[in-house]
């Protein structure tokens, strides 16, 4: 597994947890900004348009995509957690949970590549 990570953390479920937290935190920080931009439509539609043009710039687009990426990662991770916590466990669930963690990573990675 990954070198340099503290021994007890070096496994897929822990990575899934860390990713979920980081993505959640990033989304929380992004949310007010997002709302602000949208509310521009009310007061100054032209500035919203300008902003949306601004989003055509690759770097910005990349950042926006990053957020979409985070949202989808968080979504998949969240679904995984909800399934794990609220639905009954089958005997294989421990393995299944690890697979799902990997799966969420993979799917969101693919999404990122697609979108860019």
């Amino acid at each position: 597994m990954i070198k340099g990570i503290k021994g007890h953390r070096n496994h897929p479920l822990w990575y899934a947890y860390a990713l979920h937290r980081v993505s959640g935190l990033a989304l929380v920080l992004f949310l007010p900004l997002h709302f602000y931009v949208l509310s521009l439509a009310l007061t100054q539609p032209q500035r919203l348009d300008a902003f949306l043009h601004w989003t055509e710039i690759p770097a910005v687009k990349f950042a926006e995509m990053g957020l979409v990426f985070l949202l989808s990662v968080h979504l998949l991770g969240g679904i995984r957690l909800l399934v794990l916590e609220l639905l009954p466990w089958s005997p294989r669930q421990k393995t299944w949970a690890a697979v799902a963690a990997g799966g969420a990573l993979f799917v969101s990675g693919a999404f990122l590549l697609n979108a860019v």
Binding site: H8, W14, W89
Partner: protein
Amino acid sequence: MANTNDTMTVKVWRGDKNGGAYQQFVVPRQDNQTVLDVVSWIQQNQDPNLSYRFACRVGMCGSCAMMVNGTPRWTCRTHVNKVLDANTLVVAPLRNLPPIKDLVADMDPFFDKWIDAGGHHDPSASRYDAMPQIAPDDAQRAVANESIECINCAVCYAACDTVAHNENYLGPAALQRAWTLYNDEKVNDTDAVLAAVSGKGGCHNCHSQGSCSLYCPNELNPMRAIAGLKAATIKHQLKRGR
């Protein structure tokens, strides 16, 4: 002694609650050598002041757990070959518990939480009553049986980052015990079990990091038990209509 193939480097944490540092030893390698044997060898042959704890030496008492190369393990049943990294072992007292001296951690917080989680049987019958008839293939009993092998070694407790970050968190072993009680048909007041795990440090703090289940030396699955508690508490809450 030179560090050859016949020896290994062992870094041992020395200190107490006021802090400490690693001290290096060179220890001969042997067949069938456990980490506990390595630590014992150092105490018996190199430094008589080294402190560590063990009792049963066969993985039944849960006294000997330590951090070995960053990972919590029962040392009496951890073969050196399994954990040796670049011919080096780094041994420290169990994480998430206050150190007493060298490799000995104070396990009281772990057991205090065990009791706080409601982790003991509240009798519903007496010694003069018959033993309950319980079919071995009873589904609920099967769930209760799953964690019966817990030796309260606190390996899971040391592996969990939620424990590290949240001092109220009851931790995987205590919650798993509560889950067993919840599924024990001998327990009358399952509401009380759920109440004990629904407070500030309760099961809802678990982030399903899974380190507990991964490192439990008895291959138990506290993560699953905690998930069970989460679902049960929700069901109970919804039933109460709130």
